[in-house]
């Protein structure tokens, strides 16, 4: 019996990580290049395969065939450890994301933890070590500056990231991501309370703190994943390539993939918390987690989840190619002076609404 459970888990891990997340990472890079090209009135890679769809394969092949060069003056052990430390936490966090409702009576989540968001934040905060180690072990000034910037940036924004979802946890009253989605599926998404229990005065009033916390969460997520308005650790124009200046070949690719994997998991978390995860809007095909549902509904739910994630990734790309980079002091001011306070006030506001409005 244990063996069967283990086997099912293994199938889910391999299926999610290698058949969904990794191809999504590859195609996120392709989408990034094509969308950025279209935004800048260009064409983008369209040569390898139909519309350049095989470009990720060509890129991967190139990375594998390149020389894996280790500079002489680096601390080799840490230097080799850093890329893995960026990639592994990014992939670990997908363990608790419910990427579907149920398929053949099996819940579509790798680990049904009762502390989902906490697990994600705990593991995601580890990914800063990869960047810091890369910056430090490279023994070169640009990576060092990138690593230092990344340390302060990621530690600052973790606070507003954590505080921003507390209103969501208060409203849903649960820490299990799977049950949070089931609740939203029946009672209305937090960002779209137009059916079920949330279609009431209280639900609509709560939309105000939810929107605030969504904005804070999304911006902090940009900062956590080092995406463009906050890509100070990389910062091409100032730091050559930031923390991965000294890396080449597959080691560089691991940093690159880790960044995109973190972006996908972040999108997944945002979708799960604010947009009802795998559930369809207006309570269609909703599932409260009690009776088993047919397999085709499970498939529709999975497709819905990944569809939402794709939309979110496109939003990430769109923002990246629209906004210029922040200055470092602006970044710190935004994190500590605005978002921290806004998130704290938002918690009080949510509590007030929940207490006063019945």
């Amino acid at each position: 019996m244990d063996f069967i459970a283990l086997a099912i888990s293994a199938v889910k891990i391999v299926g999610l990580v290698f058949l969904v997340i990794m191809p999504m990472v590859a195609y996120a890079v392709w989408a990034e290049r094509r969308v950025s090209a279209l935004i800048q009135d260009r064409v983008g890679p369209n040569r390898v395969g139909f519309q350049g769809l095989l470009q990720p394969v060509a890129d991967g092949l190139k990375f594998i065939l390149k020389e894996d060069f280790t500079p002489k003056n680096v601390r080799t052990g840490y230097y080799w450890l850093a890329p893995a430390l960026t990639m592994v936490p990014a992939l670990l966090t997908c363990a608790v994301l419910p990427f579907g409702s149920q398929l053949f009576g099996e819940p579509m989540v790798i680990a049904n933890l009762n502390a989902g968001p906490l697990f994600i934040f705990a593991i995601a905060s580890l990914s800063v070590y990869g960047i810091v180690l890369a910056g430090w072990a490279s023994n070169s000034k640009y990576p060092f500056l990138g690593g230092v910037r990344s340390t302060s940036q990621m530690i600052s924004y973790e606070i507003s990231l954590g505080l921003s979802i507390i209103p969501v946890l208060m409203i849903l009253g649960d820490l299990n991501l799977g049950r949070m989605v089931q609740d939203q599926s029946v009672n209305g998404w937090l960002m779209l309370p137009l059916w079920g229990d949330r279609f009431s005065l209280k639900g609509l009033l709560l939309l105000v703190p939810v929107v605030i916390s969504f904005v804070v969460f999304t911006v902090s997520m940009f900062a956590e994943t080092n995406r463009l308005p906050f890509d100070l650790p990389e910062c091409e124009t100032e730091l050559v390539a930031g923390y991965h200046t000294e890396y080449s070949s597959m080691k560089f690719a691991l940093f690159f993939l880790g960044e995109y994997a973190a972006m996908i998991i972040g999108s997944g978390l945002a979708v799960t918390l604010f947009f009802g995860g795998w559930s369809l809007p207006f309570g269609w095909l909703s599932w409260d987690g009690k009776a088993d549902i047919p397999w085709w509904q499970g498939l529709i739910h999975m497709a819905t989840f990944f569809g939402k994630v794709v939309v979110f990734i496109l939003f990430f790309i769109w923002v990246r190619w629209s906004l210029p980079r922040f200055r470092f002091d602006q970044l710190m001011r935004l994190g500590w002076v605005f978002f921290f306070e806004i998130a704290v006030i938002n918690i009080i506001l949510t509590a007030g609404i929940m207490m006063l409005v019945k």
Partner: protein
């Protein structure tokens, strides 16, 4: 006198960022949609689309030799083009036309006429200097080869590119 740089006075909606960010997002989205629907003109997709039908009248491509109405080669091997050619791409070996030939009166013709297309700079001086209107710049621009020898256009190749030219080209007609 120190120059005082005036900083713009930001309005309150500019100070809270979000409306201006939304404005920027709208601009990029407009560009995205315009390019996606093909309303923005983008780079020509070269090997599939070519310049051929869009080349201007005065375009100077590969030089080529031409024959006249009677299929006689117009070149009389005077070697003026060889002398004027700035990168010295043209090499001509002249030959006397034997007296029993139909065109014996022309006296000279090129035995060999080579243009090194690696050297050619497409300046058009050969065409300008030619007294017999035998060499013209055509619109061929994709001159490629896998070896240096392949990039030297010999007489046969030059006539193949040039073909037949009927009538005299003058300032006052548009035969070119």
């Amino acid at each position: 006198m120190a120059l005082v740089v005036r900083r713009p006075q930001l309005k309150w909606w500019e100070k809270i960022y979000l409306p201006v960010i939304a404005k920027g997002l709208v601009i990029t989205m407009r560009h995205f949609i315009r390019t996606l629907t093909g309303r923005t003109k983008v780079t020509m997709q070269y090997p599939e689309e070519k310049w051929n039908d869009q080349l201007p009248e005065h375009y100077r491509g590969a030089p080529a030799l031409v024959t006249d109405e009677q299929d006689r080669e117009r070149c009389v091997a005077c070697q003026l083009c060889e002398f004027i050619c700035p990168p010295r791409a043209i090499t001509i070996i002249p030959e006397e036309i034997p007296s029993e030939d139909k065109w014996a009166k022309v006296e000279k013709r090129p035995l060999a006429f080579n243009i090194d297309m690696i050297r050619c700079i497409y300046c058009g001086l050969c065409e300008e200097v030619c007294p017999e209107q035998a060499i013209f710049l055509r619109k061929d621009y994709a001159i490629t080869g896998e070896s240096r020898a392949e990039m030297v256009h010999d007489k046969a190749r030059l006539y193949e590119v040039g073909g037949r030219r009927v009538g005299l080209v003058n300032k006052w007609n548009d035969l070119k």
